[in-house]
């Protein structure tokens, strides 16, 4: 049954009114509980549209969507208490004038009892490493900190699914690292759909979906996808230096310089073995 999956889409199609052609057409995929899925593809490929369809901010023209067992188009509230979205711009996602109040916002909407709310807010703030920031005002925080506050706001609700819509796109490198570290810490405990332009953020994803022109053109593990030079080129995906070098040298997929060095060494050892013979 498809409904045991955390996220399942079948033949999902959506067109914006007045847009050129469908933003998404015939997209089907599934994400099992605890899976970590990456979504990449060129701008206008349909990545953000997908996130909005999964959260009920948009309703599909046709096709079937289930998130945590609910249809986001007909029961958005049920979906939203089980699937949190982390948006691109942390500045425009925080509602309340204080960190603590903002983290509580989702719980307030759910009508959670006040005593329980306090416990869950404190826990969520600790989980993103911002203890002591409860009374800080959002505009005094760095981009990475704001995004972690937003993440705490989602975690407080205790969602089964996290939808990350390019959460690091507007952050500086340290901010990106902070946020990614917290997101990594959630692996396995939650189903994560991570939309990004940075392929290196998805090296340890379970699978990566490639959306281009509204179509799902690939759904594969990262090692496989990132070794396919043609696929990368067709979808305007640029690997970071290290794995690109490995691919260009005809070596297996490497994440870090150390892995690359090992692969090079192994290859030269094999080659010298061949020469010796």
């Amino acid at each position: 049954m498809a409904d045991t999956a955390s996220i399942s889409c079948k033949d999902l199609t959506y067109s914006y009114t007045g847009g050129f052609g469908p933003a998404l057409s015939g997209v089907s995929f599934e994400a099992g509980q605890g899976e970590y899925l990456g979504v990449v593809g060129p701008n206008g490929g349909g990545k953000s549209t997908l996130v909005r369809l999964l959260n009920g901010l948009l309703a599909a023209d046709s096709g079937r969507v289930r998130v945590a067992g609910f249809d986001p188009a007909t029961e958005p509230f049920e979906v939203r208490r089980r699937a949190g979205v982390l948006f691109q711009n942390p500045d425009n996602g925080l509602v309340a004038p204080f960190v603590e109040d903002d983290v509580a916002f989702g719980l307030e909407n759910l009508g959670v009892e006040r005593a329980e709310m306090r416990g869950r807010v404190g826990e969520a703030i600790r989980a993103v490493g911002l203890s002591g920031y409860e009374r800080r005002e959002p505009h005094t925080l760095s981009g990475g900190e704001k995004q972690r506050v937003a993440l705490a706001g989602l975690l407080a609700v205790g969602p089964e699914v996290l939808l990350l819509d390019e959460p690091t796109a507007m952050l500086d490198p340290p901010g990106r690292r902070e946020v990614l570290e917290r997101v990594r810490g959630l692996r396995r405990s939650r189903t994560v759909l991570h939309v990004t332009h940075h392929l290196e953020e998805l090296f340890d994803a379970d699978r990566v979906l490639v959306l281009n022109g509204g179509r799902l053109v690939a759904d594969a593990p990262p090692e496989e996808l990132f070794s396919d030079a043609d696929l990368l080129r067709e979808n305007r995906l640029v690997l970071p230096t290290v794995p690109r070098l490995a691919v260009d040298l005809g070596l297996p997929f490497c994440r870090t310089p150390e892995e690359l060095a090992d692969a090079v060494e192994k290859r030269s050892r094999d080659n010298s073995g061949v020469e010796a013979r």
């Binding site: 909005r52 959260n55 901010l57 509230f77 939203r80 208490r81 949190g84 979205v85 948006f87 711009n89 500045d91 425009n92 996602g93 925080l94 509602v95 309340a96 004038p97 204080f98 603590e100 109040d101 509580a104 916002f105 989702g106 719980l107 307030e108 909407n109 759910l110 009508g111 959670v112 009892e113 006040r114 709310m117 306090r118 807010v121 005002e137 959002p138 505009h139 937003a150 706001g153 989602l154 609700v157």
Partner: protein
């Protein structure tokens, strides 16, 4: 950043006034303000004025903060005072000098009006200086909630206040950023007459407004995706408690207002 937060803003210290329920403070302030319009004797103003002075002392907010608050109204106070002194010609003449005449009635009226204005502004300043803006919004929501039956959007008003408080500094920063960017392109905000300077603000206001709309759009999406459905079924994180001391404060306020009005 400090430029963005105007005078009369929340002054976070611990004091008996800070500890009061914001609803009690809002009601007390309203009583004082309305009551002031019915005070018409010097004795009444002495009562109201000394009560206000006592409250200022109890608030532990430095006097300087209040003086800063009074500065913008000082001109209006002075204008009102001199207008009454020179143009109200009632009662015996105190002195005359050419066409300038000062009558006792004018002096009295001038002093009363000036006192009324000063006490009014100080009282309002006391409320905002001792009440955190979020608490103030919550208090106002509660006080307006009976009007929900008349379809008055009490929750929405409070939510708007909260969001405004959240975004004032953000928009202030953005305005600063834009004005620097425009200055770098040769915009001049400091020279020319009033009209020229107002016109120079247009290249700041246009991008700022467009930016605000984009923010509003994204914020609405974020709120919706976090399950916001308006005030219905919502539980507020912060709890307001009306305690005995709040009742006492209200009672005292009523007594002071009555005394000031009746004297």
């Amino acid at each position: 950043m400090t430029a963005v937060r105007g005078v009369g803003q929340f002054y976070p210290v611990a004091s008996p006034l800070h500890a009061l329920d914001p609803r009690a403070k809002v009601v007390a302030t309203a009583l004082l303000v309305v009551g002031l319009f019915f005070v018409d004797s010097a004795a009444g103003f002495v009562v109201a004025g000394s009560a206000t002075a006592l409250l200022v002392g109890a608030s532990r907010v430095p006097l300087r903060a209040f003086l800063g608050l009074l500065r913008p109204v000082a001109f209006i106070v002075a204008l009102t005072f001199f207008f009454q002194v020179f143009f109200l010609r009632e009662g015996p003449t105190l002195f005359g000098w050419g066409f300038v005449e000062v009558h006792e009635g004018g002096l009295e009226m001038g002093l009363l009006l000036a006192a009324r204005l000063l006490i009014l502004v100080t009282t309002a300043g006391l409320l905002t200086a001792t009440t955190a803006p979020v608490a103030l919004a919550d208090g106002i929501e509660d006080l307006l909630s009976p009007l929900k039956r008349l379809r008055f959007p009490a929750h929405e008003v409070a939510m708007m206040m909260t969001i405004a408080l959240r975004f004032i500094p953000t928009l202030g920063e953005e305005a600063q950023k834009i004005s620097r960017a425009q200055a770098a392109r040769g915009a001049d905000f400091t020279s020319g007459g009033l009209l020229a300077r107002a016109r120079a603000l247009v290249p700041i206001l246009v991008p700022l407004t467009i930016g605000a709309f984009r923010r509003a759009d994204e914020l609405a999406e974020a709120m919706e995706s976090r399950g916001y459905r308006g005030g219905h079924g919502r539980v507020r994180y912060r709890e307001l408690r009306f305690r005995a001391r709040d009742a006492l404060a209200l009672l005292l306020t009523i007594l002071v207002v009555l005394a000031a009005v009746l004297l």
